[in-house]
Amino acid sequence: MKTDITPGDRKKIEEGIREKYSKVADSPHGLFAYPTGRSGIEAQKYAPELVSALPEEIISSYCGVGNPFSLRQIQTGESVLDIGSGAGVDTLIAAMMAGPTGKVVGIDIVPEMLRRAESNLAMTDLHNVTFRMASGEDLPFLDAEFDSVISNGVINLIPDKPRLLKEVIRVLKPGGSLMLADQVAIGSVQKDMKARLANWFQ
């Protein structure tokens, strides 16, 4: 499971992510090939009672590629990690599911997205959510800290996916769940790294 990403490639990828998602933090509208905001979240059939509990300004910042909660519902009292939490919509929905006895942590590497997530959190009465700057490749958490790990449209952006997955399994409790919505390449993967980098953020 080796990757052929050089340190230079990694730098370009991270700079590209920061450049694109600093704009997404303001508004994802028009920046993705699929619906975002309310039309996106309704198309992915998130639980209407949870969506309706969030202010429209939060819903408008949604830019997921799927509904990770369709894979498994978060249970009351669970601890949940959201990798690449972005504006934090999934994080906040997970927090509503987990309830006051649960805890949810969202991590992201883009400062603008974290600020948007904090701003979104401030519009709710949720007290079981924290956001912090961290990479999925180096999770700043103890072993077996989370019942569930979710991620939505992020792992395709991560340069070293095996390293991320090892980190995920480390921080999950035994029997814990990973629920992913993401983009996968179809057809053959481009061998030319320059071309792959050019398409990394689509």
């Binding site: 499971m1 993705f32 090939a33 699929y34 619906p35 996106g40 198309a43 992915q44 997921g64 590629v65 799927g66 509904n67 990770p68 369709s70 894979l71 498994r72 249970q75 009351t76 009292g77 509503m96 309830g99 006051p100 006895t101 805890k103 009465d125 949720l126 007290h127 103890l142 072993d143 077996a144 800290e145 449209g153 395709n156 996916k161 095996p162 997955l165 090892k166 399994i169 999950l172 409790k173 035994p174 029997g175 814990g176 769940s177 990973l178 629920m179 992913l180 919505a181 993401d182 983009q183 996968v184 390449a185 179809i186 057809g187 398409n199 689509q202």
Partner: protein
Amino acid sequence: MLEEVGFENAELVAKTGFNSSPKTEGVLVRASKPEASKSLQKPKEEITPVEEVRVMGRRPSPSIEAVIDRAYALGCEKAKIIDASTVIVEEWVRWKCLYGCPFYNKDGYHPPFAPDVDETRKVLDQYTKAILLNGPKGKVITDIAVRLEGEAYKMGFYKAFALTALPSGGGGEPTPGAT
């Protein structure tokens, strides 16, 4: 790739229809981490069911059982609630520190700067319950205890305070009889 790193029941469940380019497609994937060996799990009959709480914004009274659950989740092998009054503190222990421990007079964790017996007893008397932790050797159990202190605080146990077993003796190896 998921199973290579240790996940089980990895499954591509569905396509989402949200594709970021003609060469990619949105998918839903789930997987689970295998259960741990039984020696590291709390016996099932002792597991306290999580209380159903549906009302947002209202924090229930904290449950010390929830702290025990977290202790196991963080890696403790045993965690037990005890009466704080059963914790014995005696003067002779300080002599063990004074004679033969290389950490004496070094920092706030050790005599003569560490709290003395009377002060320790007074502080312990301000608690009714304590949790005795047993787990991995060395710094790991200290990390767990400190982490648990923080989590207990956030649960509402505002007086939570971790008293950790630091290694004593040269090279971090326990010295017989030393504390």
